[in-house]
């Protein structure tokens, strides 16, 4: 570990670079940042402006700073907001539960096949998630390979169905997002120093204790990232409610409403206001969650 040359080099390099203070970083970064400014930052402001306007798509919209758009949007769509939130929480919890053992085993016991397992986990991404969801609607259909078979051998009543239920929607979203749960879990588990686990077992802790007291706490950053990466798209999803929920009563989510307002009803102000409400819910949720995790770690330390 003794390498006296290293720090020297490190000191020299920045000193050499500093006087040059070139325009290079600005030239390199400005095209991309300009693109993001025009097509990401400004559209957010355009949506903010639109969310306060009044009018119809035929007569045009006028800026009247009508903040009641927001209260209207919440009042009219409370049901969908709550359902999206509930589905998001259920999906995140289920995804964490089923993903953790997978990430754990690959990180600790994958050996030299780790990248093979990761490749297999990412395989579904080579087919558009809309088409994978359509495939699930085939698998779960009333006369499909699962329900059809179970019905023909008499294990299920003829009228039993999965499509059009909240279960189908939640299962579909979980399926779509569980790879995003696994990856951050895997990354944080993979970084855990194995000698810490060894030390715990050497000090006579059982394997379960070693897992609960060493591995699990050290993987909390991964759990945190996994929860955010899973819950945000889960709450905003509308494809599963459409394809697997079949728009049955009680399955539509807030994303379906935003999509309808924007693309069918062309009630842009209401759609924009709802999109902002959705984002606010997510940001507030993330902040509360970060607080909870943060205080937990303080009490533990």
């Amino acid at each position: 570990m003794e390498r006296p040359v290293q720090p020297d080099l490190h000191l020299v390099a920045p000193r050499e670079r500093r006087p040059r203070r070139s325009a290079a970083p600005y030239v390199l970064s400005s095209p991309a940042l300009l693109w993001l400014l025009v097509l990401f930052v400004i559209p957010m402001f355009a949506m903010a402006s639109l969310s306060l306007q009044e009018g119809t798509s035929l007569e045009g919209f006028r800026q009247t700073f009508r903040f009641a758009n927001f209260t209207d949007a919440i009042a009219n769509n409370g049901e969908f907001l709550l359902r999206s939130l509930r589905n998001g929480i259920v999906v995140t919890a289920v995804a964490l539960l089923i993903a953790y053992p997978v990430a754990y085993w690959i990180a600790f016991y994958g050996g030299r096949f780790k990248s093979v397992f990761l490749f297999l986990l990412l395989l579904p991404f080579f087919i558009s998630f809309v088409i994978r969801t359509v495939a699930w609607s085939f698998i779960l259909s009333d006369d499909g390979i699962i329900l059809g078979t179970l019905k023909s051998i008499g294990l299920l009543p003829e009228t039993y169905h999965v499509l059009g239920t909240t279960f189908a929607v939640v299962a579909g979203i979980t399926y779509n997002l569980v790879p995003f749960t696994i990856l951050p879990l895997y990354v944080s588990l993979e970084q855990i120093d194995r000698s810490l686990v060894e030390a715990a077992t050497d000090l006579y802790s059982s394997r379960t204790q070693a897992f609960l007291k060493v591995v699990l706490p050290l993987s909390m950053p991964g759990v945190f990232a996994a929860v955010l990466l899973t819950s945000i798209p889960a709450i905003g999803d509308y494809v599963n409610a459409a394809v697997l929920g079949n728009f049955a009563p009680g399955t539509a989510m807030i994303g379906n409403v935003i999509q309808t307002e924007f693309l069918r009803n062309r009630d842009y102000p209401e759609g924009a206001a709802l999109a902002f409400v959705l984002m606010a819910v997510m940001v507030v949720g993330a902040v509360i969650y970060a607080r909870l995790i943060g205080t937990e770690r303080i009490t533990e330390g």
């Binding site: 970064s29 693109w35 993001l36 087919i127 359509v134 495939a135 499909g144 399926y175 494809v239 935003i258």
Partner: protein, 286 residues
């Protein structure tokens, strides 16, 4: 390591003996679970490939729809894959937007990634934040914002708005990929080239660029895959210029023609093969 050598062996032995019988069957629980999990993840892919060979029943005149039950094996649909001209057009649209936006995002994202990896500059924190936000924003909010923007400008949505939007959401992913690669590069190689008389541009093109290439290629493929997979932002920004996933989504209500599963199978096999080749090549290079 030295601790292992100096540790008296009798401390370890009884423990190992005591533990072994208890673990013998539980050892198989996790591997079995992981295998089952991978099968579950790829189950829809099997179904898509399988049903691309499914026969359909139905009268003449109406275009065929895949049935949810297995009616018999046929390779017909592979011969007739280009039959539905509107569907074929959407696949062409998706590929065109995929390539165009991936090329643009690769150029912009590579430059941004390089700037972030190599320089400390004013606005670096802001650039980092913009990357983080654009990756973590929910797609539906991005889509709604872009739609609002194009509506406010009175722009007709189509190829142009799709290209701009797809490039936008891919930039951050390319930048992150290239930055990771650039951060791991030994800068003394470039310095050595310049010490040997190369101009900064020559040194960059001859030394740095080849070393960055795997990162840039990975960024390009990621951008292409993201664009091909995208549904939400496309739906909000496409107008009448339909993409493959949005067409399929629209078709779910009337039934999916088997051609969709054939296209999906071809796209899947091509993508998976390319990724596998890339992984093998980059492994060989080290």
């Amino acid at each position: 390591m030295s601790a292992v050598v100096t540790r008296p062996p009798q401390v370890r032995l009884p423990e190992a003996v005591a533990r072994k019988p208890r673990r013998s069957w539980t050892r198989f629980v996790l591997p079995t679970y992981v295998t089952a999990f991978i099968l579950y993840l790829s189950f829809p892919i099997f179904i898509i490939i399988l049903f691309s060979f499914n026969q359909t029943r139905g009268g003449f005149g109406t275009s065929p729809r895949v049935k949810t039950t297995w009616l018999g094996f046929t390779t017909d649909w592979y011969g007739r894959v280009f039959e539905l001209s509107d569907l074929t057009a959407t696949v062409r649209h998706s590929l065109t937007i995929g390539f165009a936006s991936a090329i643009a995002a690769t150029i912009l994202g590579t430059l941004l990634g390089l700037a972030l990896a190599r320089y400390r500059f004013r606005g670096r924190g802001g650039a980092d934040f913009a990357i983080f936000l654009s990756i973590s924003s929910p797609e539906i909010v991005l889509g709604a914002a872009l739609a609002s923007f194009f509506v406010a400008l009175g722009v007709t949505r189509g190829f142009g708005t799709l290209f701009l939007s797809h490039t936008m959401f891919s930039i951050a992913f390319v930048a992150v990929t290239v930055r990771a690669r650039a951060a791991g590069l030994d800068r003394s190689l470039e310095a050595a080239a310049m010490d040997l008389g190369a101009t900064p541009v020559t040194a960059f093109v001859k030394v740095t660029l080849p070393l960055l290439a795997p990162g840039i290629l990975a960024g390009f493929l990621l951008a292409f895959a993201l664009s091909m997979d995208d549904f939400v932002i496309s739906q909000f920004t496409q107008g009448p210029f339909q993409m493959f996933p949005t067409w399929v989504f629209g078709a779910t209500r009337v039934g999916i023609p088997p051609h969709v599963f054939v296209f999906a199978t071809i796209i899947f096999l091509t993508g998976a093969t390319l990724a596998l080749l890339l992984a093998l090549v980059s492994r060989r290079r080290g």
